[in-house]
């Protein structure tokens, strides 16, 4: 599904922040991406989301060489990826419902086609009574769940979640990871970036990608 071969990235003329990254993400797999703060987890997530181009190496995603993709092809690929940002990135002028429906709306789908699906998902993540409120009145955990619902609404083939449990209590964090595991079982590949070792220990069977010293160490 995703393959990195000797990928390196530097900003401008600075040192390489990521060096010789080689790994693959298989369909229906689950992996934690971890490492100390500043190790480059978010940068690697951005490479996976095709919002950064590597300075060297090969990235192949859904069988296509990322370096040859034009903007329309990148858009098509992003429609197959769900992403949960560390800072949620909910649009403040849209309600919870509108934020969650956004990935379908940008694909020009009619609201009648997706309304029930969005409502159902919002109820599933426990935001059924918060559909018509704006992000500024949501708690951190509610924003987190809204961001997750937005990532899941397109039934992504690949889910990228950057610190999805950073703003929720341990119980909610476990619930969220269980949700991701359920998704993985239904065929979605999941990458969860986190520095919460305790949480990873609770899901011991998951693969771990550990970033340190600009390099990636894989523990299957």
């Amino acid at each position: 599904m995703v393959r990195f071969e000797n990928v390196g990235l530097r900003y401008g003329m600075g040192p390489e922040v990521l060096q010789d990254l080689s790994f693959a993400i298989e369909p229906g797999s689950f992996q934690f991406l971890t490492g100390p703060s500043g190790a480059g987890k978010t940068t690697l997530m951005r490479l996976l989301l095709l919002s950064l181009r590597p300075t060297r190496g090969l990235i192949s995603i859904f069988g296509q060489d990322a370096s040859t993709l034009d903007k329309d092809a990148i858009t098509s690929i992003r429609r197959r990826i769900g992403v949960v940002f560390q800072d949620f990135r909910l649009l403040d002028h849209l309600t919870t419902y509108e934020n969650v429906a956004l990935p379908l709306r940008v694909q020009n789908q009619a609201e009648d086609e997706y309304r029930n699906e969005v409502i159902e998902l919002l109820r599933w993540v426990g935001l059924g009574d918060r559909m018509q409120v704006y992000p500024e009145v949501l708690s951190g955990g509610e924003k987190q769940r809204a961001a997750i619902a937005r990532a899941l609404i397109v039934r992504p083939e690949l889910l990228l979640a950057d610190e999805p449990t950073g703003n929720v209590d341990p119980t909610m964090a476990r619930r969220i990871i269980r949700l991701f595991v359920e998704l993985q079982r239904s065929g979605t590949s999941v990458v969860v970036a986190t520095h919460d070792l305790g949480l990873m220990d609770q899901f011991d069977g998951a693969r771990r990608l550990v970033l340190g010293d600009s390099r990636l160490h894989i523990y299957d």
Binding site: R78, R79, E111, M131, Q132
Partner: protein, 317 residues
């Protein structure tokens, strides 16, 4: 057991009630909307005045030209060795016999003297002054008059007679009217350019202010076309509001000018104004042109922003 255990039907109904339309993805507050509306309104107002003014001038010039070109004059200068009345009679006869001349009237001596009054003043004794006599020819419309033949015939009757078909005047009026219309067109181009630049600045500002929204839209799978359409929709609406305000103001100005000119029509200054600019009424073609300018302002606003956003997004890597 309920057929809708999680209450989607009621939630859907509630959503339908609460949401008249999808919320715009580019928030209204993120664009200097009021400023842009005012700029577009002013530009549309000026463009409408330029267009309406050009139409008034073109219309008035057409009236002047058709009046002037339907008339010709023959001037007979007095000479000591000639019988002026006899020459005048022959000239009138020759003019009447020319095909295309509908009416011939020789002005009396008193009428000819009255023509000099504006320059010489009243009460001047003109008996000793050699005042030329005028013959006014009304030409039939749609019939071509052979002016050269008439000119030769008059010259044969009297060497002191001059024929004037008003062509020089007509050409000068046409040149003046064309120059005014050209100035109006240049003004229109300048106004449209200025409006395009103002919209361009506003679009760049809106893009900078909405950078995060654009980024999120990209990440959730929005194409550049989709994002640029969102900006187009927002700017089209702003442009339409500005355009309608500007066009409304310009229409009021022309309506007011028309009413004022009708009220002043009976006064000497009103008559002169009417002679120069016609009735000050631009009529339905003029108001249609103003409405068209309002619509074009809105279209320009929307299209400019769309193109700018699309190009900038394409350049983003």
């Amino acid at each position: 057991m309920s057929a809708d255990p999680i209450g989607i039907s009621s939630a859907t109904a509630s959503l339908r009630r609460d949401r008249a339309a999808e919320a715009p993805l580019v928030p209204a507050s993120s664009i200097a909307g009021r400023t842009l509306i005012i700029v577009v309104a002013i530009m549309t107002f000026l463009a409408s005045l330029a267009a309406g003014g050009a139409m008034l001038v073109a219309q008035a010039s057409q009236e002047w030209r058709s009046t002037v070109s339907r008339e010709a004059t023959i001037q007979l200068k007095p000479a000591t060795n000639r019988d002026m009345e006899a020459d005048l009679g022959k000239i009138v006869e020759a003019a009447r016999g020319t095909p295309g001349v509908a009416e011939v009237r020789a002005m009396t001596k008193r009428e000819s003297e009255l023509l000099l009054e504006p320059w010489l003043g009243q009460g001047v004794n003109l008996d000793e002054v050699p005042v030329p006599r005028m013959v006014v020819l009304k030409l039939a419309s749609g019939v071509r008059v052979d002016f050269e033949q008439l000119r030769r015939r008059i010259a044969e009757i009297s060497p002191n007679a001059n024929f004037d078909d008003h062509r020089m005047w007509s050409e000068r009026l046409a040149d003046m009217a064309n120059a005014l219309v050209a100035i109006a067109v240049v003004l229109l181009v300048l106004i449209v350019t200025a409006m395009g630049l103002a919209i361009s600045f506003a679009t760049h500002g809106a893009m900078a202010g909405n950078r995060e929204i654009i980024e999120v839209l990209h990440f959730v799978g929005a194409s550049d076309q989709f994002i640029s359409k969102q900006f187009q929709r927002r700017f089209l609406w702003l442009g339409l509001r500005g355009g309608l305000i500007g066009a409304g103001m310009a229409s009021l100005v022309f309506l007011g000018a028309g009413l004022l000119s009708r009220r002043l029509a009976a006064t000497p200054s009103g008559e002169q104004l009417e002679a120069l600019f016609g009735s000050f009424s631009i009529g339905w073609p003029g108001y249609s042109a103003i409405a068209l300018i309002a619509v074009l302002s809105a279209a320009l606003s929307g299209q400019t922003s769309r193109i700018i956003v699309f190009r900038r997004l394409r350049r983003l890597t």
